[in-house]
Structures are given as C-alpha cells and as structure tokens.
C-alpha cells in the first residue's frame, strides 16, 4: 500500500460519497466512537521504515508501522522513541499520532506532538500534503503537524511520519513503593519538585493487584540517565518510603490494562490539585476500575474493565466528578478516550463545535468523508 493507494481510496469515496472509517490495526474500533462510515480504510499494510539515520536521531516511517517495530528497529542502534501510549504495543504510529495517545513516559518526554517532526497526509479531497520536515527544529510555514496530531483522522489520512528519537540512556531503572498514609503526597511532591523521573504514576490498589505489586495503592517510578543521576533520585525517594526495583515489563502490563477496558476517562487539572488529592482518589478501591495519576503531567486516568462489576456508565459519570479539595474556580478538563457505544451519545459533546474547528474541518474534508462523527460532530 502506498500514499497513492490512499489517494485513490479517498477520491473514490468522494466520488461515491461513501464516508471512510480510517484505522491502523483496528485497536480503536472498540472505543465505541460513533463513526458514520460505509467503508474501512486500513493503513495496516502501509508499514515500514522510509529513512533512518541514527546519527540524526530522526526516523521516518509509514503510518502503519507498529510501535513494537519502531522499538525493534531503533534498539539496534541503542536509540528509542519514548512514546508508550496506553494499550497494546501492536498499535500503529499513525493511530498513536492521530489520536494523540500518550503513556507514562509523557511525564518525562512530553506528549506525542512533542515527538513529531513532520508528516504526510491525504486530505479529504485526495490531495497529498506534507507538513513539517525531517529536522529537529523547524518553523517553515504554518504548523499542520500539530493540527493533525489528535485530529482522529478527520482532517486527513496520515500516511508517513518523521519522529524525534532519543539515545537510550545508560541507566533506565524502575521502582515501586507500596503506599501507606501520606506517602502518596510526599512522593508526588518530590516528583514535582526534586527529581526528574522518566515516568511517575500513582496507582490504585486494583492496579497494584493486577500487576502483582501487593494489595495497597502504589507508586511506580522510572528513573533514567547516567548511573549517578538515577542513584541521586533514588535517594530522594527512599528517604520518603522504601523502594523496590521492578522489571521494566511492569510498565507494559500497566499500559495493557487498557486493552480490556470499555471505558477510559482522562481528567486533567493543574499539578497542585493532584499533589493534595492523590491519596483520597486512590483510597477508593473498586474492583475492575483502575485509577492512575500522573501528578507531574496533571492527569488522572480511570480505566473501567470490560465486564467489570461496576462497568456501566454510572461509574464513568462518577469518575468525571472527581472532587479536588480546594476549588480555585478551575474545573477539570475531561477527555473520554473509550466508552460503550451507547454511552457516547449521552456524555460526549462535540469537541469540534467552535467555528474555527468547524472551518478547519470543512476546509480539509469538505465532503465529510473522513471518520465523520468520531469527534462527536
């Protein structure tokens, strides 16, 4: 499959007025999003490395390339793409960028938009557009890369991406703290002020049990860099609570809790809100409901397992009204990542209802054939 095949598919859809469901490896099809499409356009077969110059720390790949494949290719040169979205590693980079999906490493390396240098996409008229470039710093022209990131395929079918890589650190170690009392607050405070972890997550007891890390809420932390900087940060943490080293695979297991979820809600607010409220949020222990907090990023994720005891929309609604101790007049931002299909229509307002977003949508997909409905439009 090539860009030209995508062009043909889009043009045919325009001609026949058949809206397209754009997918990578179909991992998001179970997110319940209300897409009105007559046909599926999968980028699954459009995969592989286009160019990779390790010395430049940049990688250009086709959109259907899986994250696992990127990890394999870059590891050969002792490099990596520090992007670990929740869910399975067999997801594609195209879908990861299109959905702006991030994972625990966002704490240390930023959001997908921070790792994207440029892309190629096919717009809703079947035209090939390139944005950004292959270099690590670039302000030539208006920023279409950022615009396409998180646009859920509604502005164009992403066909190729150039990403910023990092050299693998000499030390990359992960630790767990089984939380008691006020430790969550102290650790979160340390993570925010005294150390620079690659990843830092406060997780509910249900998550700890699922990962085999005991029966209490826990703190998972990943430290990287040279040996000295890891050791220095570990000392800071150990002064608050005993730490235990864990296998890197624990992070994969944490991310994969999403695979069997039917509802995922992401709530974000300013970091300070999470420093104070983490302990009380984590105290609630509902089987099948996994809660993870990244206080540095200011994000709380509530994952409700499919067939979980409370896996109905009441749980979801309950999750959206998380109370922060002090109200400073700033209500949280809420993003629904996955919901049961019948719940979408009730809880998710359109996220492209403002006139600028509608104008952009109309300009890039004038015939309304790219994932119509996926953003609640």
């Amino acid at each position: 499959m090539t860009t030209q095949d995508v062009v043909s598919a889009v043009r045919e859809s325009v001609a026949t007025r058949t809206p397209l469901r754009i997918t990578g490896r179909s991992n998001w099809l179970d997110a319940g999003r209300p897409v009105r499409a007559g046909k599926t356009l999968s980028l699954r077969d459009d995969s592989g490395v286009v160019s990779y110059v390790p010395g430049d720390l940049t990688l250009t790949v086709r959109a259907g390339t899986t994250l696992a494949e990127i990890e394999r290719v870059t590891l050969e040169h002792d490099q990596w793409l520090p992007l670990d979205p929740y869910g399975s590693s067999d997801g594609t980079i195209g879908a990861t960028i299109a959905t702006a999906s991030a994972g625990p490493l966002a704490s240390g390396f930023g959001l997908p938009r921070d790792l994207l240098l440029g892309l190629e996409f096919v717009n809703g008229r079947g035209e090939i557009v390139r944005a950004g470039g292959k270099v690590v710093k670039n302000v030539a022209g208006f920023d279409l890369s950022r615009l396409l990131t998180g646009s859920w395929g509604t502005l164009g079918v992403i066909t190729e991406l150039t990403l910023r890589l990092y050299a693998r650190p000499r030390a990359d170690r992960s630790f767990v703290v089984s939380l008691r009392g006020e430790q969550a607050k102290a650790l979160a405070h340390a993570a925010y002020t005294a150390i620079s972890p690659y990843a830092f997550q406060l997780v509910s007891a249900s998550v700890a049990r699922a990962l085999g890390l005991g029966a209490h809420p826990a703190c998972l932390v990943r430290l990287g860099g040279n040996e000295a900087v890891v050791a220095e940060q570990l000392i800071v943490l150990s002064q608050i609570a005993p730490t235990k080293e864990i296998e890197p695979h624990t992070w994969t297991a944490l991310r994969e809790l999403d695979v069997n979820a039917d509802s995922v809600v992401r709530i974000s607010n300013v970091p300070i809100q999470f420093l104070g409220a983490s302990a009380s949020i984590l105290a609630e222990d509902i089987p099948g409901v996994y809660t993870c907090i990244d206080p540095r990023r200011g994000v709380l994720r509530i994952v409700v397992a499919r067939n979980g005891q409370e896996g109905d929309d009441d749980t979801v609604a309950g999750g959206t009204s998380v109370e922060f101790g002090t109200d400073n007049g700033r209500s949280s931002e809420v993003i629904f990542e996955k919901l049961p299909a019948d719940v979408w229509v009730r809880v998710s307002p359109s996220v492209v209802a403002d006139s600028l977003s509608l104008g952009i949508r109309k300009a890039y997909d004038p015939h309304d054939i790219l994932n119509p409905g996926i953003l609640g439009d």
């Binding site: 959001l111 710093k137 030539a140 022209g141």
Partner: protein, 505 residues
C-alpha cells in the same frame, strides 16, 4: 503601486486616535521611519500608520475598526524579528509593546499569564525570585516580547533541551482579524479536539493577535555547568557535536562559533575570553541534578578531547559562565563592527550533515569573496550563517545575496528546513516552494483562511499568494472591495530578486 489605503488614511487615523489617544497614533512619514525595518535591516517597508493600543479593550476596538473598514494590518512586538515579518508595506502597524502587564503568576503550578508586550527578560526577572524561569531564550531576550515569541515560535540556545515556544505555551486569548475574541488551548489541563493553540503558535501574525498568553514556567535547575571547548578545525568541532548528541546526553545548550565569529566577538565590547586563534569553539551547557551533571561533564570533556579539542575549560562560577554566554548572545551585535548591514540565515540541517555543510559554506564564501561568520545552535543543526556587508555597495550586495541563496540551496538539498526559529516572513518566502508542494502550501493557506478569511492580518507574508488556490478561484468574493489589490500591494518580491535596499540613515 496603487495604495488604496492611503486616501482614507487620515480619517482612519482620527478614529484610531479616538480609541487610543492622539499621541499613540503615528502618521507622519518621519515618525514612521522607526517602524520601517525589523532586526534584518536589509528590508525596508514604510507603514501608512502606526497605532499603539494601551490595553486589551483598545486593541479589540482598533482591530474591529480596521475590520469594518476592510483594512489590512501588521501586528508588531519589539521588532527584533529576523525575517522581515513585522514590516508593513503602506498599511497599518499595530504595535503591542504597551500591553505589558504580567496578569497573573501561579508559582505552585508554575505558570504565568502575560500580555503580549511583556519582554522575555522582564518575565524572567519577575519569576526568578520563585526559583522559576521561562525557558525559551532567543538571543534578543532583553528586548523581544512574548507575543512576538508566539508569532515566530521562537527558540534560543536552551531549546535544545527545553523545547521552543510551542512547548511552553498552554493557552492564549486570541483576537481574530475579524475582531472576534477566542480562547485557544487550556490553562488547566489537556483538552481534545484540534490543537488550535499549536496552529496559532508560529503563525507569524497571520492568524491574529494574542491578547494574553499563559506560559509554563520551568524550575531553575539546581546545577548548571558550562564548558568551552576550542578546536583548530571546524570539522573537529562539528564531529564532536554529533558525538555528544549520540552519547545520549541532552545538553541544555550546544552552541558553535567559528573562527571569524570568535575574532569579531573578541575585538568587541562583548569579549568573552574565547581563544582568538581557534578555528571553532563549542559552548556546551549541562544542567540538572548535581551528581548527574558532574558525570555528564566528564563524559563530554572526554568526547571533546578525543575529538581533537585543544582545551576544555569549565566556567568556575556564574560570573565566568555569564561572560561566556554574553559573547555568544551578543555575537550578532558584534558583527556591527564589520559593516553596517547584516544578513543572517536560519536553515536547519540533519546533524550528521554538519561537517559537510560547513565545508560547502566555506567554499561558497570563497567563490563570492565574502566573509561568512557561523554562530549557531549546533545541537539542533540550526545554522545561522551571517554576512556583514554594506548595502550601499550594490556589487557587494549582489555577491552577498548570491552566496546566501547558494548556501540555502545547499541546506535544502541536504534535507533541511529553510528556517528553524526566525520564521519565513518576507525573507524566506521565496524558498517556500522549494520545500513544500503546491498542495502543502495550499493546505497552509486554507488554515490561514479559517483564522483570517480576508487575509488582512500580516498580508503577503509566509506563503506566496499565488500558492493559494482558493484565493485565485474566487478573487474579490470575500472581504472588502479591492482587498485583493491591497494585499498584493503588500507582497514583496522574493529574496533572490531583492538586492538589499540602501540604508535610510
């Protein structure tokens, strides 16, 4: 050139004066001279009027008046830009330097909301007592404004580790050219939907005016160490740059200065103690937790010496550190000693091409008999080849411009970008078609068309007008009558065709 905005200019001036006060509207040619160039003095355009609103309400009223009249305008911050982007060709300049309030500072959450005219350095002084800093640090930080930073997506030496303006702006209140006020991004957290915030940043004044900007502040790193490594060959310094990046260490900054630059700086008031006989120096800064920084410092020192550095000197204290940086940050200023005008480029190349491109630049400079000084962000591959020259000498100007065009061509051929942080503006518009296809340029035009359907905000910049399909398809069907000709009047010839204009002084 027809100047349709001229006939009613006096009445518009009167009405603008009613909004902002008489002394904040300039209309005499002599008064407007100051606004006819930016930090790149080779370009000169005379605005028809300059208006300086004193607050948000006045800014909104000014833009709404211009919208009703169908008049184009150019938003301007401190005018320190290096792309000719803030120039107004016989249209209205809206100077935003009076909007300089730091609206709020949230120390615990490390964010601040500021008006667009707040100068980087002032914001930094304001937040420093709280152990915080605003990371983007363009070399003009003592004068440039956050609003201008947003327009250009400004960088600076430390964006190697900390990222550019885009990575530090959370939200903005934006005044669209129509006069409508919208909120982009979120001050609180993450939001889904299209990243309008990200689209606006770096839109070079073509999408509207940011009335307030909420930025992320960064904790001051506990330990900062600065190294100066000097080399007897440009190639050696270029290879060491690649080796440091490849080692996995992310320096806070990794700056390169070549021999000609070193000697100019050392003979200026900004002399930093760089070795005058060196062919290249690298200024490398490491920051973070103390033990980690010290370990990296040893690794970097080793890589430098292995790679042929003659000396590696580590600044002993903050005073020595600031002196090393002063020479780098004021390098462009020091070039003023050589000749009255300076032309500077901003291409970015893949880092592995650095030794090759520096050699090519040297060959081009010999071919045209010009002295190219190289002072740049090596860690990013963001070059700033610059030539000091006299624009009053037509023959020299021509050689300089031919050399610069050839250098840009070589950078594009190496797979690079035409601009890393200065923006396209007028200066690099002629190169846009060399790196983007018609469809890609048109997609950018369409995005601009959503924010500014009449193309009245900073017309004639960034994208050549003829690249916008829709504009050709329905000329004159949008906005005020005759707008097309007004906007075309603002379109400059591409750089390659424009020899630098004689200085007005």
């Amino acid at each position: 050139m027809t100047l349709p905005s001229r006939p009613n200019a006096s009445t518009v001036a009167d009405r603008l004066a009613e909004i902002v006060g008489e002394r904040h509207v300039l209309s005499r040619q002599s008064e407007l001279l100051v606004y006819n160039s930016d930090g790149l003095p080779g370009y000169r355009r005379q605005p028809s009027l300059a208006v300086f609103p004193g607050n948000r309400e006045q800014t909104v009223a000014v833009v709404r008046l211009l919208a009703r009249e169908g008049l184009p305008f150019v938003p301007r911050g401190a005018g320190t830009g290096l792309s000719g982007g803030a120039l107004a060709n016989d249209i209205v300049v809206i100077g935003l330097h009076r909007l300089k309030e730091i609206i709020s500072l949230d120390v615990p959450n490390r964010r601040a909301t500021v008006e667009p005219g707040v100068v980087n350095l002032r914001l930094n002084k304001h937040v420093a007592p709280h152990g915080l800093l605003y990371a983007p640090d363009p070399s003009s930080e003592a004068a440039c404004t956050i609003g201008g930073n947003v327009a250009e997506n400004a960088g600076g030496p430390h964006c190697l580790k900390y990222g550019v303006t885009l990575n530090h702006v959370l939200a903005m209140t934006v005044l669209l050219p129509s006069g409508e006020v919208v909120e982009l991004g979120s001050k609180v957290g993450e939001r889904d939907g299209y990243d309008l915030r990200g689209s606006f940043i770096g839109s070079e004044g073509c999408f509207g005016i940011a009335l307030d900007i909420t930025v992320k502040l960064t904790p001051k790193p506990p330990t900062v160490r600065t190294l100066l490594a000097d080399f007897m060959s440009v190639d050696g310094a270029a290879r060491v740059t690649s080796a440091i990046i490849a080692s996995g260490i992310v320096p806070a900054a990794l700056e390169f200065m070549d021999g000609p630059t070193i000697r100019v700086v050392e003979s200026s008031i900004y002399a930093a103690g760089y070795p005058k006989d060196a062919e290249a120096i690298l200024l490398i800064e490491l920051d973070g937790l103390e033990s980690g920084v010290n370990a990296d410092l040893e690794t970097v020192r080793h890589i430098c010496l292995e790679g042929g550095a003659r000396n590696v000197k580590v600044a002993r204290d903050d005073i020595e550190r600031m002196k090393l940086w002063q020479g780098r940050k004021k390098a462009f200023g020091a070039m003023g000693r050589l000749a009255p005008h300076l032309i500077v480029q901003d291409a970015v190349i893949p880092r592995t091409k650095l030794p090759e491109i520096l050699e090519t630049i040297h060959a081009i400079s010999e071919k045209y008999g010009v002295v190219v000084c190289n002072v740049f962000h090596a860690g990013d591959g963001n070059l700033h080849p610059n030539i000091a020259y006299s624009a009053d000498d037509p023959a020299e100007s021509e050689r300089v411009h031919k050399a610069m065009t050839e250098i840009m061509r070589a950078c594009i051929d190496a797979g690079g970008s035409i601009t890393g942080e200065h923006g396209v503006g007028l200066d690099k518009m002629g190169y846009m078609e060399a790196i983007f296809s018609d469809n890609s340029l048109n997609a950018m035009c369409e995005l601009r068309g959503v924010f500014d359907p009449e193309r009245r905000s900073n017309p004639g910049k960034v994208i050549p007008v003829h690249a916008c399909k829709e504009w050709h398809a329905v000329p004159g069907t949008r906005g005020a009558t005759g707008l097309r000709s007004r906007i075309d009047a603002g379109v400059p010839e591409p750089l390659s065709a424009e020899p630098a204009r004689p200085s007005a002084q």
